[in-house]
Symmetry: C2
Amino acid sequence: MPDTEYSPSFTPVSEVGEFGLIDRLRAIVGEPADEAVLAGINDDAAVYRVGDGRVHVLTTDALIEDVHFSRAFTPMVHLGIKAVSVNVSDVAAMNALPRFAVIALGLPNSVSVEMIEAFYHGVQKAAAVYGLTILGGDTTAARRLTISVTVVGEAAEEEIVYRRGARPGDRLCVTGDLGAAYAGLQTLLDRHRALQQEGEGFQPDLEGFSYVIQRQLAPTARLDAVRAWQEAGVRPRALIDISDGLASEVHHLCRQSGCGALLYGAALPIDLETRTVADQLGRDVDTFALFGGEDYELLFALPEKALDKLDPDTYAVVGEVTTADEGVRIRQPEGEIFPLEALGFQHFGEDGVE
Amino acid sequence: MPDTEYSPSFTPVSEVGEFGLIDRLRAIVGEPADEAVLAGINDDAAVYRVGDGRVHVLTTDALIEDVHFSRAFTPMVHLGIKAVSVNVSDVAAMNALPRFAVIALGLPNSVSVEMIEAFYHGVQKAAAVYGLTILGGDTTAARRLTISVTVVGEAAEEEIVYRRGARPGDRLCVTGDLGAAYAGLQTLLDRHRALQQEGEGFQPDLEGFSYVIQRQLAPTARLDAVRAWQEAGVRPRALIDISDGLASEVHHLCRQSGCGALLYGAALPIDLETRTVADQLGRDVDTFALFGGEDYELLFALPEKALDKLDPDTYAVVGEVTTADEGVRIRQPEGEIFPLEALGFQHFGEDGVE
């Protein structure tokens, strides 16, 4: 039995941070002894060889009620779509395609058979879009609705892209736009508070916010980007999905690649609806784009000349890779350059670590 | 969007039962379109081909605080062992060996870095025993400690044993003994109550109960049986692990095999410590063995002549497979034969479905 078991010390996870915790756990688990393993605890998904030059990627993510979602404004069918999408996004972040999934559900008594069916309709809808086969799962009791999805993806070994391959001089690019899922969450929270204060007579105004709300409730994993890269014969040097906000993911990518980065604050792709929400709430929209989570877009590093092969409408150049000693910085639209902290997205209702 | 989303009906999961729920979800998910899939939602683990005549099995199980365990009397290192073992048991139940695992942790603020490290020491200890490589995972906030483990196992395609292969006339056998994990849980709950009533002066008497407590807190998956079968050149016709109690698992196996079963009530293997606990609590020990959960032994069906190849000390014959029309029955020690219900184990503190 390890010494830690009866140690009186209590270190909060927030004190060591996500990186610190992973380092400590990696020290316990050790390096993978299995020769088939190509990537373990350091990337969006684990990678191992399965023969015939193919590899599988394996990823698991949990959605927990009142931490990741509120049943008050999350339709079960959307929850099914989201639970699959967030895991498929991790597969896309390895430049792989999803194949199989299993789902473990923790069910409170307040969840009916009809609600579970609606959830599975969402799961199946997303699975069909992504070409994924749902293979089964596990149901158990729980105090709060708990959804753990595991996805197995596949690729040729040489197609896999890790977080670690970025080199100084590479362009940093993102698919889609940023901050919209966070704007959607703020919109839903704002209307929910108003509904509670004003009672049944209140008619929430969601007109004009369908994009940001859809981005929050039923996000789409960017498999289309992975497929487009493969068709164009382009392979990013480094790749990660944006689940906790761009700032946090740039730090992950730089740490794994042994590089730094300079982000262009004027180049962050932001949808008009996202700007409108930020304006209405009196918030800075760049904060949404940098630190808002759950966009499930892809951040990738490429040499500049490789960008010629990609449709310019499918990505935005948001910065460049630098040497490690420069750290992670952002150049504000006014030209000033600041260090960029790795502050990650804090989920709705969160009372612990992220 | 499916009709169910806005349906006013509320059917509790308990009304349709586990079988009913799985049937409904299978109707939504449909049959796997992927030709590599050999088993999906019907067995202990999903099975799919990975090339070179090999298959992978995939299983996921969650342990949720105050449903599956109480932190009041579960050391974190034991919890790590148990979280791995319950999943490896599902791999053993396919006659496969485990290879890779990922772990998703939901962490309340009250869980320290030291506690997570102790948990991972248990995980790593179990992984080393089972020859399993921990590849990573995910940590997130949660209101209660939530542990989801996913294990990938491997076997040659022809080695896989499903629940569905039993034939009338086969012997039904179990490894190890039954009811001990439930006896351990009752012992811990009993001492915990006494401790709360009598306060700090109370010294719980756990002397003589180390076996049942260990079976509850840190169970072992029966990979040793899988390895022994492979060495003896024996392959069971049908196989399932005993996680929810023998009665429930016999029903699963019979349902999948299209058979019935007759259990021999006088032949249930029960440890002396388990009997002592039942006696002290004034409970029927056969109830522990039939309906107590979490033993993680293996239940298997074999033609009688194949038993000659197995070490008789490693299993007990607990019944025989019959035709489906006879249903699942038990012959009491006194000779009377009764139908046996599929009542499953209800976890500690459970307030929902199992």
